[in-house]
Amino acid sequence: MSALVPTPGQTIGPFFGYALPYDGDNLLVPVTRPDAIRLHGRVLDGAGDPVPDALIELWQTAPDGSVPRAAGSLHRDGYTFTGWGRASTDRTGRYQFTTLRPGGPTPYFALTIFARGLLDRLFTRAYLPGAAPASLRSLDATADDRGFVFDIRLQGDGETVFLQHARD
């Protein structure tokens, strides 16, 4: 049991676009790197419409399964894999990350979702295809020619499974 009560969250609002995104935020590795892959998808609302003002953050293991402990995500040097990135959705609700394939026994991308209209952050996992445990099968990403596709549906048909961690 926690000793202190957590501070409540609030929506990221409509105006984060000049504050949180930065050059190279969604490029965990350069696009030209031979082992670079893409994780991409769309963020959709309860009417199936794209959410053009969402922010997705990604946190993942390195290909060897290790947890990255290097700083430098805000000013990338092009060589150090920090395992963390941030992507804004575009006008059509699309986000994308250029990254490496996560490793480990059940490899997944840990994702945090923020958006105007979303009052508190949401967590989910995008597993490499086939890696999700039975209870989270819907969180398997789909492979495509250069990586993986993972759509995020905030509400309605095919609503994404969002996670509550034990001590939230």
Partner: protein
């Protein structure tokens, strides 16, 4: 386009939800994500229960940010241009703690806010208040070894928005926080004591419990105020509990 509700209609919805909350008698500490008075939330909140999950692997760690990521000057929002911004200069400081009360050390804090006139520099902000050529309204810092962050900025103004007719947001500063674990990620808003817009604002009221709402309100602190220079506010932030005891190596990237 549907006609906008009046403030009276929104206030009535807020009052009904508040009444039901009081009647239920179960304390809520988090913000509701299903809160219809905030109209943009209606199609943007999940309707299924969150799936309980034990954090594992990468989720037990947070990304590391270090001195190559953040220039110490980024903590002063009043020196980003040639001249002094307009408005009430203020210092806002506090500690970032985990659920056990341990300081979150050498971790990234990001802020963004409107200027003194209530205008964001963002191109989508159509509020006809003046932009301030000497104020952008974004800042970053790393917490110190005691989990303390400090920003120098300008007190933001309230601003109008289009949730309903004559809707105004209480003055606030957006805060983005990381802990020692992925599961502690938090984005929230800091408010100022005694704001007359609190009762009218569906974003603030989406926290149904008064004690929980109070956790987003900074305290004026005369010990933070500096003579002939700036007023001072103090606001501590508590992240959710940890699943793992933080290690010295959690902060090695900051060395």
């Amino acid at each position: 386009m549907t006609e906008l509700a009046s403030q009276a209609e929104i206030s009535d919805e807020i009052a009904q939800i508040s009444k039901a909350y009081d009647a239920a008698g179960v304390t809520e500490t988090r913000t509701r994500i299903d809160y219809p008075p905030y109209r943009s939330s209606v199609l943007r909140h999940p309707t299924k229960d969150l799936h309980p999950a034990d954090p594992e692997g990468i989720e037990l760690w947070a990304p590391v940010f270090g001195h190559q990521d953040v220039d110490p000057l980024e903590a002063d929002l009043t020196i980003q241009h040639r001249g002094e911004p307009v408005g009430e200069r203020m210092i806002v400081t506090g500690r970032v703690l985990d659920g056990e009360g341990r300081p979150v050390r050498h971790q990234l804090v990001e802020v963004w806010q409107a200027n003194a006139g209530g205008r964001y520099i963002h191109q989508r902000d159509q509020h006809p208040a003046p932009l301030d050529p000497n104020f952008t309204g974004t800042g970053r810092c790393l917490t110190d070894g005691d989990g303390v962050y400090t920003f120098t900025t300008i007190k933001p103004g309230p601003y109008p928005w289009k949730n309903h007719r004559n809707a105004w947001r209480p003055a606030h500063i957006h805060f983005s926080l990381f802990g020692t674990e992925f599961t502690q990620r938090l984005i929230t808003q800091m408010y100022f004591p005694g704001d007359p817009l609190f009762a009218l604002d569906p974003i603030y009221q989406a926290i149904t419990d008064q004690a929980a709402r109070d956790r987003l309100v900074a305290a004026y602190d005369h010990d933070v105020t500096r003579p002939e220079w700036s007023t001072g506010y103090r606001w501590d932030i508590v992240l959710t509990g940890t699943h793992r005891t933080p290690l010295e190596s959690d902060v090695e990237g900051a060395a």
